[in-house]
Symmetry: C2
Subunit: 148 residues, 2 copies
DNA sequence: AAAACTTAGTAGGCTTGCTTATTATTGACC
DNA sequence: GGTCAATAATAAGCAAGCCTACTAAGTTTT
């Protein structure tokens, strides 16, 4: 076996998303939307750009997702009182109500994925993935050099 | 930090794909397309369904990708002599020619991602991810029970 | 041989994600 | 105060991924 890192990661990520979406479809939600709810629950009133940064997606991606979630009555856009360009995001009651259903589903899928993986192995996995995430999140590809 | 496995995996996978695509765009190719080339290089003449199975995507996803790659002159569909429903897939010369450029790029992105990750840690990562992949690939969610 | 089932691929329609380009503000500088 | 640059969000357009539904061709059953 000489799998590539990107291929393997992509496959595993996709399989997890597929599992989640299959189960969550009856609730009428997708995994990325669940992630938005998850973030908004503890960051009430953030701006779209801040949401995008937390999710590490482009602002337009977050904006379109908010469009759909607003149509579905899951989130609410309120005008920012100090900046007329910006929106402040809030969960609706309906949005908050889903947490109770989605949290257990999320745990269930994780458990399925991690069956037979020891606690130590899990901890190691998270640590390594976090390291990789930081490697990829940073500035372009150029090596470090002081600010100017 | 109490990140979710799916979230973290999804983010890391997306960041890797984004890096690859940014660099490969000048060549006019995407990472999923590179994966198709990679598979076809050593599985000449497979059918679309077989390709889909290897990539673990749905047949329609593979079919649409082949549409685009055929338009781009990267792959060729040839009729299956024994089954008029099926296509056999082949790389064009142009498709084969890209391997030399994409292989190093692929390695480069992996190296960037794995900077500061020891060999042992990498081996562990691959092993754990493969375990997870198998957990997720299996039959539905139901427990095993004999064929009937 | 005819009917019924299975298999290979495609069509339509949706979400997520990106890039590039635009609009509307805000903030900084002269 | 007026211009100019930076920032928040959106628009258009594309790829990849999915689901459901369909067609056409093989295969099996009767």
């Amino acid at each position: 076996m000489e799998r590539r890192l990107g291929t393997l990661l992509g496959q595993v990520a996709r399989l997890m998303r597929r599992r989640f979406d299959q189960r969550a479809r009856e609730i009428g939600i997708t995994r990325p939307q669940w992630q938005v709810i998850y973030v908004l629950r503890r960051h009430e009133g953030i701006k779209q750009g801040e949401l995008a940064e937390i999710l590490e997606v482009e602002p337009i991606t977050a904006g379109r997702m908010i469009d759909r979630m607003q149509d579905a009555g899951l989130v609410e856009r309120r005008a920012d009182p100090t900046d007329r360009r910006a929106w402040r995001l809030f969960l609706t009651e309906r949005g908050q109500g889903l947490v109770g259903q989605l949290e257990p589903l999320s745990v269930e899928i994780s458990d399925l994925a991690l069956a037979g993986v020891s606690d130590a192995e899990q901890a190691q996995l998270f640590e390594t993935l976090e390291k990789i995430r930081l490697n990829l999140s940073g500035k372009p590809i150029a090596p470090a050099h002081d600010e100017d």
